[in-house]
Each structure stands twice: as structure tokens, then as C-alpha cells.
């Protein structure tokens, strides 16, 4: 989840680079697909609700085979329970279906985000319906939850949701705050441990160089959110992997309604390749580690995206939304078209 642009500038959840890095990035931007032929990617944090079908197409073309969409703040506060309910339903319904039309397996995490935890009356109601969604097929965790302002209300609902995750046996996807990040991250981890949650079941998100060491040392998964072409972030991601290796590290795009790039993972993979990171390590941080972490939910069957069925948009889905006005559906070239 990102915030308004000025806040991003002050509190980047990603990295900033040099002029030399920018030049490399420009080159990668143009040719990055050459470096990642035959690689496949798993983006464990992307808000497709806020993205277009062009993005889905681009993800599919770049080798992203599966994604996780965490429940988050939609840019303005919700005013009632029904909008929360409809939002959660869309993550397991319409968005999942929309994604499938591009051959991308869509999972989600369900939770009450930190900002809206501050509306306590509404938060109480939301807590009551969360269990209805946490046990659904394809719900791979409780998320994204954690701290924003680090208020008492945020802490209260973070703790309550940790208990829900424990009961459901689900991983937790923890959003770390943009402001006072280091302390917020430490506090998030301490509370999770206090609730008796195995750190291997917790993915601490939006790390940077200042937070990663402690996260890994304590046994948590460390996720990094990358915005490569606005802030040139992935150069320094490469350095993080060089320094810390590939164990329990994963990257994501967190693409949403803000300035962000859904192709952050494929682009960073290309950059890693250029910078001499091994294919093995690239695979771990752009694919396998995220699967290992979230498959602890029991809700990920890699067969679904490693041996996908032929995509035929015209078979399951025709007409009036994605394929408008007689537009020819884009069909897998090997598919037999059935009408």
C-alpha cells in the first residue's frame, strides 16, 4: 500500500539510485524481456482492483503466472460494512475471474487494513465478518495488516487479527508503516512473537536496508516493494540480495492506484540477471520464496499455474466487459477455438 506522492518522496518504501543506475534502468526498461526469457514470476503483493486489463496482459506477457492481492485501503475511507463485504467478495469473485481470463492464478489475503482500523465502530463490524472470508478457497493469508500511524486502535486490531490467523492456520502479511518505519517494523514483529506466532508464518512487507537484517535474523520472511522506474529502486534491491542472499527474501510490486509498476518483478529479475545474480537466486526471490511462504495456508496448488490449461478467453468469457464491441479475444496461439 502506498500513500500520496509527497509522502512516498519523504518515506520511500523502496530505494533511490544514482544517475549511472538510471542509465542502466533505461536500457533494462527497453530490453528487459530479453533477460528473462522462460522465467516465471509470482507477485505476492499487487492490487489488481486498481489496475487495468492492459496490466493483466502485460503481467501475463512478462511471465507473471500467479499473484496475491492483499485487502487494503482503497484510497478513501469506507463508510459502512457493506462496502467492506463487497470488496472482500470482489477479491474472491470478480477479480479472481478477471485474472483467470489472462491465465494468471489469483490469490488474495483478507484483513482489516491499519488505516481503517482507526474507525473503531466500523472495525468491530468488520472483525465479525472476517472469519467468513478467511476460510475461502484461495485465501492464502491474513493481510495486509499492521501499523500505519501506530495508534492504539491499530494495535488492537492487529492483535485480534493475529489471533484469527493463528486459529485459521494462515500466514500473516504485515504492512509496515511509511513513517517511523524501523520502530513500527520492530513493534510489528515483537507483537507477532508475543502472540506465539511462528515467524516463518509472517511476511514482513515493505522492507528496506534499515529493516531487513532484523527481520531475517528473527526468522521472518522479508518482502521488498519495488517501484523501479519512478525511483530506480531495483538497483539497490540487487545489492540487498548480494548482501543477504536469497533465503526468505521476496520482492513484490505492490502496484495499486498510486504511481507504481506492475512489472516491477520481471524488471528487477532482468536487472539481477544483468548484475550477475544466479538464476537460482533470482528464482527464489521472484517466485519460489513467496510460494513457500503463502503455501503454508494449504491453499496454493502449484499445478494450477505451473502446468496451466490453454487460455481461451472466447471459451469462458465473451461479450460485454473485457472483450468489448467485437474486439477479437486474445487467445493462446495453440488453443482450439470453441464457439
Amino acid at each position: 500500500m502506498c500513500q500520496k506522492h509527497t509522502e512516498i518522496a519523504q518515506n520511500p518504501s523502496h530505494f533511490e539510485g544514482t544517475a549511472e543506475e538510471l542509465a542502466t534502468a533505461t536500457n533494462v526498461q527497453v530490453n528487459f524481456m530479453d533477460y528473462i526469457k522462460d522465467m516465471k514470476f509470482f507477485d505476492p503483493h499487487i492490487h489488481m482492483t486498481s489496475r487495468t486489463t492492459d496490466d493483466y496482459q502485460a503481467l501475463a506477457d512478462a511471465g507473471v503466472v500467479a499473484i496475491i492481492e492483499p485487502a487494503f485501503w482503497l484510497g478513501q475511507p469506507r463508510t459502512g460494512l457493506s462496502t467492506f463485504k463487497d470488496y472482500y467478495s470482489s477479491l474472491i469473485g470478480w477479480e479472481r475471474f478477471r485474472s483467470s481470463q489472462f491465465g494468471i492464478k489469483h490469490y488474495c489475503t483478507i484483513g482489516l487494513n491499519s488505516r481503517e482500523a482507526n474507525n473503531e465502530a466500523l472495525a468491530e463490524e468488520v472483525m465479525e465478518i472476517l472469519p467468513l472470508y478467511l476460510y475461502k478457497e484461495g485465501v492464502v493469508g491474513v493481510g495486509e495488516i499492521g501499523f500505519d500511524d501506530q495508534t492504539a486502535a491499530e494495535e488492537k486490531y492487529y492483535r485480534l487479527q493475529l489471533e484469527l490467523a493463528k486459529e485459521a492456520g494462515l500466514p500473516v502479511q504485515v504492512h509496515t508503516p511509511h513513517r517511523d518505519k524501523k520502530k513500527g517494523t520492530e513493534r510489528s514483529m515483537a507483537i507477532a512473537l508475543e502472540h506465539g506466532i511462528d515467524p516463518q508464518m509472517v511476511i514482513i512487507d515493505h522492507n528496506n536496508e534499515e529493516t531487513v537484517k532484523s527481520v531475517l535474523d528473527q526468522g521472518f520472511y522479508a518482502a521488498f516493494t519495488i517501484y523501479p522506474f519512478t525511483k530506480m529502486g531495483n538497483e539497490r534491491m540487487v545489492e540487498v540480495v548480494k548482501q543477504y542472499g536469497s533465503e526468505r527474501i521476496m520482492i513484490n510490486s505492490a502496484a495499486d492506484w498510486g504511481i507504481s509498476d506492475p512489472l516491477a518483478i520481471p524488471k528487477t529479475a532482468a536487472l539481477m540477471k544483468i548484475k550477475g545474480i544466479s538464476d537460482h537466486d533470482i528464482r527464489l526471490v521472484t517466485y519460489q520464496n513467496a510460494i513457500d511462504a503463502f503455501a503454508q495456508s494449504g491453499q496454493i496448488n502449484v499445478e494450477d499455474f505451473e502446468n496451466p490449461q490453454e487460455i481461451d478467453q472466447s471459451l469462458k468469457y465473451n461479450g460485454n466487459t473485457i472483450l468489448r464491441g467485437g474486439q477479437q479475444p486474445r487467445v493462446d496461439k495453440n488453443a482450439l477455438i470453441i464457439r
Binding site: 469473485g93 475471474f97 476460510y135 469462458k316 465473451n318 460485454n320 464457439r339
Partner: protein, 271 residues
């Protein structure tokens, strides 16, 4: 044998002992547990494909085992209080993900208080999620039994609009009507004007509602180079009692000869 015991015997033939025990213990438990079990089914029951036919429907179904189990669970809710029954099923509809919705719509023909589900059924027709639409539209007896003419026509038209196979709709011939035939003719004109086509088998819906206007469409089909269109037109002319259509059979006799009588069946067009 009731539907529920038939479903159970199909489940018994296909489930492992562990799966079966889970299904039986949940279905005989209190409603609250059935609700949770419905949601949790894929955690305990596999997605193995099961082919079966229910004798009274004579429909070939191909469902995953978890879908069968979910439908069975739905049929296990006590029906003594209508209010509680409706509340339970509606709660599942309101929070359903795609596979749950598919199971709910598959169960509609067998649920109690059927007239209470008509609105839900029309919502499936409005759905753009293909799997949900299909679960209500195809191999499902609910729409033909309970839809009004307007609701029925919307279902059929949306199928045609989306190039879906209408022969999978149950009761297609029985529920054909003049309004649908007229709308279909209009729809074909729109498609033709846009340089597009209409799947040939949809013309089976006009056989008993032919008039001068629609007959022009039928002649137009005969004049296309498309053998599917020609087959459809010939079948309509054969089936109708509208006398002017019979003249077309004579006028276009050579087409019938070229196609061969054996090839002139709706079956050939069911795709």
C-alpha cells in the same frame, strides 16, 4: 429415491472413505456446522471429476467431487423453518466465491422453497463470471421451470449474445416463444449489419413462430455460402407449419441434395 439419496450414492461411489465420513458427519450436524462445512469443503474433499446422470432429469453432469459434496450439504439443511432455511442459504450466496456460487446455482433445482430463489437465479444470468452464468444456464432445470417469459428470454439472448452453446439450456424447445423469435430476428439483423454472424443453431428457436419477416431471414440463410446456416434454414422450413416456408424447400431443393438428408440435423449445429 429422492435426489438427496441419489446424490449420496454417487458420492459414495466416488469419494474415499475419509472424504465420505467427513461429508456424512457434517451433513448430519447442526446448521451452523453445515454452513462452515460448505465453505471448507475443498479442504476435505478432492476436485476429482465425476460424471453422472440423474434419471428424472436425464442430464449428463460432469461435476467435481467437491461441487457434489457442496450440493449435498445444501440439501442437508433442515426445512422445517422457512425463515431459518432462507437465512442460511442467503448467507452463503452473499459471501460466495466463484466455486461456492457454482455449487449454489447447481443446487437450485433441488432446494426447498424454489420460488424464493428466482431472483438469485436472475442474478446469475446478469453475472459476467462465465462459470457462474454457465452453472445456472446449462444442464440446470431451474430456469425452465420457474422463469417468467421475460426472464427466460433474457437468459437465452445472453447466451446467444455471448456465443455460448444454447443446446445445453434445459427446456429450450418447450419455452420457445414468439417474442424470443422476434428479438432473435432483430439481433441477427444487428449482427449482419456489423458484418458478424449468428451461430446457426439459434434458428431452431423460430420454427414455430415463423412469419413473413422472419422468413426473409431464413431465405437469407439459404443464400449464404455457409452450410450450417443452410442446414438451420432447411430444418426451420421442415419444422414449421407456416405454409410459405414450404415453398423454400422446393426452391432450394438443390442445396438439400448437396448437403445430404443425413446431414440436416440440429445435432450437426450443436457447437
Amino acid at each position: 429415491m429422492s435426489i438427496i439419496s441419489k446424490l449420496l450414492s454417487i458420492i459414495q461411489e466416488n469419494a474415499s472413505e475419509k472424504e465420505l465420513n467427513w461429508i456424512l458427519s457434517k451433513s448430519s450436524s447442526e446448521s451452523k456446522n453445515i454452513l462452515t462445512a460448505f465453505v471448507a469443503t475443498p479442504r476435505f474433499v478432492s476436485k476429482k471429476t465425476v460424471e453422472f446422470v440423474l434419471a428424472e432429469e436425464n442430464i449428463s453432469h460432469s461435476w467435481t467431487l467437491d461441487r457434489l459434496a457442496r450440493v449435498y450439504l445444501l440439501l442437508s439443511f433442515p426445512t422445517d423453518s422457512e425463515e431459518v432455511y432462507l437465512k442460511n442459504i442467503n448467507a452463503l450466496f452473499d459471501t460466495a466465491e466463484i466455486n461456492e456460487a457454482v455449487a449454489l446455482y447447481s443446487a437450485l433445482p433441488y432446494l426447498a422453497f424454489p420460488e424464493k430463489w428466482i431472483y438469485r437465479a436472475t442474478e446469475a444470468v446478469r453475472s459476467n463470471i462465465g462459470l457462474i452464468f454457465d452453472s445456472l444456464a446449462f444442464r440446470n432445470t431451474f430456469p425452465a421451470t420457474y422463469f417468467t417469459e421475460a426472464e427466460w428470454n433474457q437468459l437465452v439472448l445472453k447466451c446467444i449474445f455471448n456465443d455460448k452453446p444454447i443446446h445445453l439450456i434445459q427446456g429450450l424447445a418447450e419455452r420457445a416463444n414468439q417474442k424470443l423469435a422476434d428479438t432473435l430476428s432483430d439481433f441477427a439483423h444487428e449482427r449482419w449489419a456489423a458484418g458478424r454472424s449468428v451461430p446457426a443453431q439459434v434458428w431452431r428457436l423460430v420454427s414455430h413462430f415463423l412469419n413473413e419477416e422472419i422468413l426473409k431471414d431464413i431465405e437469407k440463410l439459404l443464400q449464404t455460402d455457409n452450410s450450417d446456416n443452410q442446414i438451420a434454414a432447411i430444418l426451420v422450413c421442415k419444422e414449421t407449419t407456416f405454409e410459405p416456408a414450404k415453398a423454400l424447400l422446393i426452391k432450394y431443393f438443390s442445396i438439400i441434395n448437396d448437403l445430404g438428408e443425413d446431414n440436416i440435423t440440429w445435432n450437426k449445429l450443436e457447437k
